[in-house]
């Protein structure tokens, strides 16, 4: 049994790690060795990273602009999703109101429907409002698709808080808004950080909407710029892998830091409910 498990573990490790190893390996390969494939490299170099950081190649001429576009869109998505979900979760978890069912139905619907199904009408709509090539358009799309999950995680957490919050608020004579800001908000800071991270990553990883809504080398975020490498036949793959590695570092750090908040959500109800 032990032997079988170890064998399986080796297979899993090779399967899991090899593509990532291959990416990093390629990013360290000098251009002369690019067309001599192998499992290791004999002349590792950091030159591709130096080119990327110094924008010293036509393919990475706008690297920092594109990186900051990705960053700006992700940060705005994070802030708006956090605000919208904090407000929504207060109502969903702490109030019993008439249209609650419709809100949760609409939220579930938005979570489940594939975002690509809405991409073409969304593009048309943004074109009608003359918002193509603005970061705002991408932020709006990202907020729409990231908020359902954020709302659930927050509402789930908020339900576990004691009912004394509203009672304390009522004793102090605080209105609903004051209760929200002074009593509720400080209590949900930890999950709020986690769902902010989730929203940040959602926007950081997005490709389709970024491709549709932003064009031109100055405007596009990093993933679209990376896919543009593929439009030519003589793409410098080692440079592309260096950009890929840089692009992957923030998500890897954030995913591992906030791991336990980023799984579950919708299915956590199913886990505990059955």
């Amino acid at each position: 049994m032990r032997f079988f498990l170890s064998l399986l573990a080796i297979v899993i490790l090779v399967w899991t790690l090899f593509p990532v190893y291959h990416m990093i390996l390629l990013s360290l390969t000098p251009t002369n060795d690019l067309f001599q494939p192998g499992l290791y490299i004999s002349h590792p170099t950091l030159r591709n990273y130096v080119y990327t950081m110094g924008q010293d190649n036509p393919f990475v001429r706008y690297f920092w602009t594109q990186l900051s576009t990705s960053l700006i869109v992700s940060v705005w998505t994070m802030l708006v999703v956090a605000a919208v979900a904090a407000l929504g979760s207060f109502a969903m978890a702490r109030m019993k109101f008439r249209f609650r069912r419709y809100v949760s139905g609409l939220t579930l619907f938005t979570y489940v429907i594939p975002s690509s199904f809405l991409s073409i009408p969304f593009f048309k709509m943004m074109a009608d409002y003359d918002l193509i090539d603005t970061k705002l358009a991408l932020v709006l799309a990202m907020v729409t698709f990231a908020s359902p999950y954020a709302l659930w995680v927050l509402s789930d957490y908020a339900r576990s808080l004691p009912p004394e919050i509203e009672e304390a608020g009522a004793i102090d004579g605080a209105g609903t808004l004051a209760t929200f800001f002074h009593l509720y908000l400080p209590l949900i800071v930890p999950p709020l950080i986690a769902i902010g991270t989730y929203a940040f990553l959602y926007a950081w990883n997005e490709y389709l909407y970024a491709l549709l809504l932003l064009t031109g080398e100055h405007n596009i975020p990093l993933p679209v710029a990376m896919s543009n490498f593929l439009t030519t036949d003589n793409a410098p793959w080692n440079l592309l892998m260096a950009v890929s590695t840089v692009y992957s570092i923030p998500p890897v750090i954030l995913y591992y830091t906030f791991k336990r908040y980023l799984v579950g959500g919708l299915v956590s109800g199913a886990v505990s409910g059955t």
């Binding site: 593509p19 990416m23 192998g38 929504g88 690509s116 729409t144 590695t245 890897v252 109800g269």
Partner: protein, 291 residues
């Protein structure tokens, strides 16, 4: 709905009159208004807009007479049915292994999560270069062992296979952790009772684990199928529909119709064709999932 009355949720005060109820409704509405506004403007409205543009029957006649569209329907079906089910079955089996309480298993589970943490795009690019027919590592190793090299991404079957393999590589870890969580929620006493009855690994799985995970497994299957039905990034960046538009899925074909051929209404009709199935899946999910 049982959750409404769980501890911590304030029910409306019993003695409250109509006006208080009404103000609670108003407050609930106000707090959820930003969300509702976003969903109305960017979900409901685009759907209606899309259906409006896709309402011309000529578009459907045109796309159904396009052989690329018919091939795309078949590709999408393969992708959704095969990739998702193989992935989830593997995830179910692997979750059993990652649930073992050895310390090295914990290290293994941590490393196992890497494909989930790395964004799809760099992973796809890495796969693409590995599968390159001239300079890729796969063909290099094949020829080293005296086998013939394969033009992986240049023939339809292997190109579609590459899309599916990448899908499994990227999303297997996520669903595996979900199933590990599901297994951890099963009370230990059940296994103790099964042990007294002399049940082994296989019987434990068949009579304890699987019956208790069945609902979760079904929900995950539906959810993953709906998500995969609309996948654009993986097929688009792995093959871009090539060779010769033979490996398109719905989303990439709709993109091609809309942005390469300037046929907005065909692109929208492509999605609309999949809408009944999608809505059925969503309806089933909404009935099973409690929020």
């Amino acid at each position: 709905m049982a959750r409404l009355t769980r501890a911590g949720v304030l029910p409306a005060p019993a003695r409250a009159g109509r006006s208080v109820f009404r103000s609670r409704t108003l407050q609930g509405f106000l707090f959820t208004a930003p969300l509702l506004g976003i969903f109305a403007a960017f979900v409901i409205y685009p759907i209606l807009l899309g259906l409006y543009y896709a309402s011309d029957p000529d578009s459907y006649r045109a796309i159904f007479s396009d052989p690329v569209f018919r091939a795309t329907l078949a590709n999408t079906l393969w992708y959704v049915v095969v990739a998702v089910n193989v992935k989830l079955f593997l995830a179910l089996l692997l979750s059993g292994m990652l649930d073992y309480p050895y310390p090295w298993i914990r290290l293994l589970s941590a490393l196992f999560l890497i494909p989930w943490a790395v964004p799809a795009l760099p992973g796809i690019l890495s796969f693409r270069w590995m599968l390159n027919s001239q300079w890729g590592i796969f063909n290099h190793l094949l020829t080293k062992f005296g086998l013939a090299s394969v033009p992986w991404l240049a023939q339809p079957d292997t190109a579609l296979g590459a899309i599916m393999v990448f899908h499994i590589w990227k999303y297997l870890p996520f669903w595996t952790i979900i199933f590990v969580a599901g297994r951890r929620a099963i009370p230990g006493e059940l296994y103790e009772a099964a042990a007294i009855d002399g049940a082994g690994v296989v019987k434990n799985f068949l009579y304890v684990t699987f019956p208790l995970l069945r609902n979760l497994y079904l929900i995950c299957t539906l959810l993953s199928m709906v998500f995969t039905l609309g996948d654009f990034t993986v097929p688009w960046l792995m093959t871009g529909g090539a060779p010769g538009d033979s490996t398109h899925v719905l989303a990439t074909l709709a993109y091609r119709y809309t942005f390469h051929m300037g046929r907005l209404e065909w692109g929208l009709a492509t999605f609309t064709v999949a809408l009944p199935v999608t809505l059925l899946f969503i309806f089933l999910l909404m009935r099973w999932v409690k929020i």
